[in-house]
């Protein structure tokens, strides 16, 4: 039992050391969401996607982009050094609450954290809140 515990602790220490080396070699590798990176991500995910209106949160970690083809809205979030996207539908966005110049989104996805998108201006938050209200099912 003691030997097994030692193996477990040793393995976890080994994992920590390898992750430490990875940080040392590659840094923390945080991606930023801008119009170009969001469009590239969505073009990869959706055949025929055409970038439309875009807005980035002030922390550049989250962005919202419209598909100019069909008006569908997409949320693009930085996850490590990559981006993750989701199509925003009424079923997916459980709640979109505006808080001044920020929008708080509660999402129906076990792995996708709820998002807070702080805009530079309250006008943007109002505009996107209206778009959420019109979301398709």
């Amino acid at each position: 039992m003691a030997t097994q515990l030692l193996y477990l602790i040793g393995s976890l220490a080994g994992v920590a050391a390898m992750v430490g080396l990875c940080v040392l070699l590659f840094g923390r590798g945080s991606a930023c969401v801008d119009a170009a990176s969001a469009a590239a991500c969505l073009r990869g995910d959706i055949p025929g996607f055409r970038a439309g209106a875009f807005v980035a949160a002030t922390d550049n970690k989250t962005g919202l982009m419209e598909d100019a083809c069909d008006g569908a809205l997409y949320l693009v979030t930085a996850r490590g050094s990559g981006l993750v996207s989701r199509r925003l539908s009424r079923a997916f966005v459980r709640q979109a609450l505006r808080d001044g110049a920020a929008l708080n989104l509660r999402l129906a996805d076990f792995t996708f954290p709820s998002a807070r998108i702080a805009f530079a201006e309250e006008k943007s938050a109002l505009d996107w809140e209206r778009r959420f209200a019109r979301l398709a099912a």
Binding site: L21, C22, R79, G80, R86
Partner: protein, 299 residues
Amino acid sequence: MHFNPTQLATPGFILLVIAEMLFVRFAGLGSYEPRDTATSLLMGFGSVVFGTAFAFIFIWFAHLVAPFRVMTVAWSIPAVAICFVIDDLTYYFWHRCAHRIRWLWAEHVTHHSSQHYNLSTALRQPWGGFLTFGFVFKAPLLLLGFPLGMIALVGGINLVYQFWIHTEAIGKMPRWFEAVMNTPSHHRVHHATNARYLDSNYAGVFIVWDRMFGSFVEEDVSEKPRYGIVKNLGTFNPVKVAFHEFVGIAKDLKSARSLREAAGYLFAPPGWSPDGSRETSDSIKANWSAYRSAQSPAE
């Protein structure tokens, strides 16, 4: 006979991951991301813990099947070689089903959930194997009379072989090798989410199974693979990575309005929904084909 190839190979895995990290850093071929690597390594660690804790289920299954075996195979080098080839064929069928049946995908999705493709991704192994009973695919080996120890041995060698093919650091192997064996190039295609690459190259060791059963796709140098899953995860939390699809199935089953719908959520391809509103790999491929045809009608 007690010989665990995976356990023996572990120091080699560690050294090769470190060597690849250095290669990627200084040659710029491939990618690593610390949080992604942490998740992969923890998934590998957890997989060993869960695998050891629930190994008794497979042993119980083997004892259940044993009385029905058609013969008893004794230990010998030719027997191990034959067992290895048949085991790789059963791996091919399990792997194909794991991409086409949501219940099995719920376990296997873990391995595909990284958006990077490097040797640490090879260690990103599932924790929920005991839930899916995927080991029933080993039944033919048990029924043919191969000893349990031999099946475990060849399974371990198969897993060890698959480690080195998870890399972008190697381009193409010699032609004869690419024709017969699974290689980094073939397996990059398997891990890609590009529509043209979806649901292909299920082989473990011998790529000939894909060529025989029509699931082989060659890596196209003009289309770089994008790694991950169709809906990439928004988390690095290993527990969520391990069980998110099981949670998804549970939620869908709760909303199912008939037995047919419940069966669909469990056993239809990942992404299936009663009204067809979600995307499956088939619908993604169809949309992509339609888009390509519209772009170049002459083709």
